[in-house]
Amino acid sequence: MVRAALSIALALSVWCLTLPAGAQQTAMPSRPEQAKAKSTADHSKFEALKGPFTSGPEVTKACLTCHTEASKQVHKSIHWTWTYKHEGTGQTLGKKSVVNSFCGNVTSNEPRCTSCHAGYGWTDRNFDFSSEANVDCVVCHDRTGTYRKVPDGAGHPAASPRKIGKDSYAPPDWVKVAQNVGMPGRENCGSCHFYGGGGDGVKHGDLDSSMANPNRKLDVHMGKDGLNFTCETCHTSDAHVLAGSRYDVAAKDTKGAVHRGAERQAASCESCHGGQPHKSPALKAYYLNGHIEKVACESCHIPAMARGGVPTKTLWDWSTAGKMKDGKPYAEHDAKGNDTYLSTKGTFKWEENVIPYYAWFDGKVRYTLVDDKIDPTRTVEVNRIEGSYADPKARIWPFKAMQGRQAYDKGTNQLIYMNVFGQNDTAFWTNFDWPRAIEAGMKSAGKEFSGQHGFVDTVMYWPLAHMVAPKEDSLACASCHARDGRLANVPGFYMPGRDTFRWLDIIGYLAMAGALAGVIFHGLLRLLFSRNNAAH
């Protein structure tokens, strides 16, 4: 409050002056933070890493000879458990449990999905989550850029050279990889997070391969010609557990920045920029800082998603899947080569430079889980975001609103798990038989399927926090402060430029028009009478 009062005092008196960087300035990294920290160890000199190695777990065992606690730490992270117990809602979330609008679910599809697990060998529900050797160290720490898991290997790289579609997979040079480890770079995290949902840019909208080497315009923090941040510059790690969560988002960080040099386990903008980030000119800064209580930084500073030249999937309609041409599955593409129809997956829509969906968000995300009832006559929110204007924890956030049409159990009105992947007689991608695919998916989780399936419209919200544009590209005021601006449908508050009072406006404009007409009429009368008087 004191700071706010100071701000307005400044705004009132020296509005036009640029505020000097002073006590209010918060600690900001002054130098580019590089992926390659100056390490005190040269891993090529370690006996344990001389090999030979023939598999991932062998390398992990070698790592653990020095980093004795590493696997135990990783075991506690969501990268390993794929399970998240949400304290606020009591729901058990995580990839292991939730249903999404993309490939649906992990259970029964493990070898495919777990190619992005930070481990080795999660082939089915019997995976041993206590195995230290099965932690995959190098997927995050490889600095050679040569380590690659195969898409259907349950987290393992290729054991022998393979070709899948257009992509070739060779077994890694294990010794080279093991000896060239370091702090994770953008491409390490990106090897999974850029390709979620089965392909480049499919899932997030603000994360795709363009973020491996972005320019400043695409991401002001990560840009190679800018601050060159890695993911972990913001997603700070503490014993292999990283800050930031899509399930329990810090929608508003009131703690702000701590003093210079101190590190905070938080991935929020405020953890570096503080709660009064706009500095000059003072009057505009005063108004902009006044938004922070109700508007997330991301809402203005991410003007659009999928800005790096990689489109993001905005619609996935499963209901059209299974069509054949000449008895064979087929694919259709758009002009840019993006799949628009696959017999295995249905119909897609891809978009670039997508304007986000905006909504009140208190950080809490409530999922529609397979045990929850749905109303199939309406669009089902696969995950529901909560918050309102009156909620002091909530702010207006930008989202990718993923449109879906996906299978559900008509008998129970519940979403379903489906088996899509596998060389077996149930997987949809092999057999194109919905009831059997759903039956197998549900059975793998020990759940029942009524046998009757239908398709329901769904929407899934993905909060946006990446592709933060330079300030000159952030939204203009009138992007929202306009009759049909970006926040036209965000309810619960009065916004200048967007809102009017219908009747007040009608009465007001009528009063002004009436006054104008009245004086014109009176003036004309005067003119007329003065002529008459003069004529006498």
Binding site: L283, A476, C477, F493
Partner: protein
């Protein structure tokens, strides 16, 4: 039609003469014209913020509106001070003869009837003017600056619980008062054309000089003060 002074009526009528004298002091004219300019700027930028027009960018409108509003508040603080130190506030006190003035503007002005009020140094405004200006200064003005200050300081109180529609209420009052302001200005500007000539009142407000009735005592007093009086 009888004329009453706003001070105690003299027991013996004193003969009055028409004299040309400065009736609007330099400060009063400065106040009037700078206020006029600021109000024009505020109306233009304010209706841009309101979304009535989009002739200027929203952020520019907000900045211009804020600066002009702060300037106007400063001007009003000085002017309030001026009104009380000079005693000019008495000019706004309600007067009798309101109906006659209204009737004059409705009919008399058309038929060439004389104005029912004659200007004096102590009574610069007729009854209708006083009522209009008083409404402007105690109702429309305060409604605008009170709601405007709340509007301006919204970032300081938007954390308060239960203020969900606070800004809406503030904006409602501010918008309603601004409609009244514009209505006032439109009529006010037109009324300036109703003097001896179309430009007479405007000229008076620019030069400060007008011809008023004054008695010999007033004339002598003003002369002793060094005031220039033209016959």
């Amino acid at each position: 039609m009888t004329q009453r002074s706003d001070t105690a009526s003299p027991l013996v009528p004193v003969p009055k003469h028409k004299r040309t004298v400065m009736i609007y002091s330099r400060y009063e004219r400065f106040w009037h014209w700078s206020q006029a300019l600021l109000i024009f700027v505020l109306v233009f930028s304010g209706f841009a913020v309101h979304g009535t027009h989009s002739l200027i960018r929203f952020d520019i409108a907000v900045s211009v509106h804020t600066i002009a509003a702060l300037a106007l508040i400063v001007l009003w603080v000085f002017t309030t001070f001026w009104h009380f130190t000079t005693g000019q506030w008495r000019q706004y006190l309600p007067k009798s003869g309101l109906f006659q003035v209204i009737r004059f503007y409705a009919f008399g002005i058309l038929t060439g009837a004389p104005h029912p009020y004659s200007k004096s140094l102590r009574r610069k405004q007729n009854a209708l003017q006083s009522l209009a200006y008083l409404t402007f200064m105690v109702m429309i003005g305060p409604a605008l600056w009170l709601s405007g200050i709340l509007y301006l300081t919204y970032p300081l109180w938007n954390r308060m619980v239960g203020q969900a529609f606070g800004l809406g209420a503030v904006a409602f009052v501010h918008t309603a008062a601004s409609f009244m302001m514009v209505t006032f200005v439109l009529i006010h500007v037109y009324m300036t054309t109703t003097g001896k000539t179309v430009g007479h009142y405007v000229k008076t407000m620019i030069t400060g000089y007008d011809t008023v009735e004054m008695d010999e005592v007033e004339e002598a007093y003003l002369k002793s003060q060094g005031t220039r009086i033209f016959r």
